[in-house]
Amino acid sequence: MKYIPLLKVSFKALGSNKSRALLTMLGVIIGVAAVILLVSIGNGLKTFITKQLEDLGSNLVVVLPGEIDVKNFSFSAGSQAALAGLATSKLKIIDAENIKRDVPLLEETVAITLSNSVVRFGNESKISQVIGTTDNYTKVRNSPLREGEFFTQKDVDSARRIAVLGATVAKDLFGDKSPLGEKIFIGNFPYEVIGVLEEKGAMGFINVDEQTIIPVTTAQRQLNLDNVNMIYGQVASPDEVSAAIKEVDQVLSTRLEKDDYTVVDQKEVLSAISSILSVITISLGGTAAISLLVGGIGIMNIMLVSVTERTREIGLRKALGATPETILAQFLIEAVILSIGGGLIGIVFGVAGSLLLNLIFPMTLIWWSVILAFFVSVAVGLLFGTMPAMRAAKLDPIDALRYE
């Protein structure tokens, strides 16, 4: 028995009812496309967020107010309040200075205050996240300047009213004009613009382009507070992070209570987020796989109908010398053609959709999901084609020929 004529027979049978074949494939098409798209979305999110967190600066030790269990993503009431507002944070500039002095592993420490304020120039105004920080901020946060310069240690010590603008803030307030040397208002206080940051794009929850950066001392004076929201410490290499965390913790505990602060490293946050996103990806893919299963059941259904409709044809073929294996092969081939056809069309839609949607949403097409989706669709055809094909193969030629 040769398989080429058998393939022709199968294609002909399917071709004689094209709309039925297409509708049957639709289940698999949707299933495969959905698997590819949803896995792309999950992976896109993961890649995106991971990259953004890495961009925030590597080798960082972060001190946050309140008690946070990063691994379990639980926040104490204190930490939630502290993240929400500066007022409840117990961290102060002195803590940054203490750990800088007492933990030799730390190359830099940066104290940061966060607040939102209206930033105004002439008639243009916008709400911006105002970051109060120290002169070494750009080094630790890896945000170079596009023009002008950053403030110095002296500016911080003397709490000068000077500001460095994020790219979007500068564009919104000044258009294409250079903002250097101009007077802007942050809240009710006048500031001189001394620099503009390079455009970086949104980084997860933080958009550097939307920020306005001023000396931390100036910020505290304007807000009439003496605490800070967080402290960054930078170490030389990622291997030193865990040792540094221990030492930072020790230094901080001399002045603060245990639930006043949490020392975390980026890696911990990264791995926690990444594992959550992996779970999301798998569950998205799994949900889509169910529709693939439904598609398979659709194939089985239509193949059963087909076997019944073609009972006489099967009887004739058997009478003319088709063995049960040949009949089995013929109907299995039909089912697999349906599922492979659906799989290939689904891959085209899934890949095209992923690439298209990537323009508006971070999608990472994962090639293994395409290959997996293809083989699963073949398997679906074989699995759900077997029962109808067996039924056809087992038909008695005498009865089948008499079937009306």
Partner: protein, 209 residues
């Protein structure tokens, strides 16, 4: 079935020689269909032996029977049993796709068979474009295409008008003259009269040879 066995055929002893034209007749329920199925290797007897060209076929598996049918038996049915929306040529080629011939050989043989029944100008016609007589000729060509040891025709004229029926019977005569062994199953005495020998079945037994 439920412990009751019905003997469709009982004590049949029958020999058909190569090159014979035999008619098997009998009323419906006489057992002629069962006999035809056994001769056609579509079924095997619960008891007894069947030989085809010296090969014992009564204890073959379903798969082996299929191969024997493919190589040695050509069927002609009352209902023609042609595949719809399929050209005459492809219909005739059907048994050959279950053999090991190449595509070009298959096409050549199918054309040759259609030529023998006088339909070489209807190769691409589909069954619904052919008359009943022509359809049965296609079916005969399909039976011939494998050069079988035996052509088994089950009421081949049953669905045809008498003129077409005569034509079909003439073809069987010709085929027999060319040396083909033909078994014609019919309830029609006139049709059976075309054969050299008539075997009459009644209540599962051979009544008359």
């Amino acid at each position: 079935m439920d412990g009751i066995s019905i003997k469709a055929l009982d004590g049949i002893s029958l020999m058909i020689r190569e090159g014979e034209f035999v008619a098997i007749t009998g009323a419906s329920g006489s057992g002629k269909s069962t006999l035809m199925h056994i001769i056609g290797c579509l079924d095997t007897p619960t008891n007894g032996e069947v030989f085809l060209e010296g090969q014992k076929v009564s204890d073959l598996t379903e798969r082996q029977l299929a191969i024997v049918r493919n190589k040695k038996i050509g069927f002609v049915f009352q209902q023609f049993n042609l595949l719809a929306r399929t050209s005459a040529l492809e219909n005739v080629a059907l048994p050959l796709i279950y053999s090991s011939l190449s595509e070009s050989e298959i096409e050549e043989k199918a054309k040759e068979a259609l030529n023998m029944v006088g339909l070489s100008n209807r190769l691409d016609h589909q069954p619904n474009q052919l008359s009943g007589g022509q359809q049965q000729k296609v079916a005969i060509a399909r039976a011939l295409v494998t050069s079988p040891s035996l052509i088994l025709a089950d009421e081949p004229t049953g669905n045809l008008d008498s003129k077409s029926g005569q034509e079909i019977l003439k073809i069987f005569q010709q085929l027999n003259n060319q040396g083909n062994t033909i078994i014609l199953v019919t309830h029609n005495q006139q049709v059976a009269a075309n054969a050299q020998r008539i075997i009459k079945i009644k209540d599962g037994k051979i009544e008359e040879k």
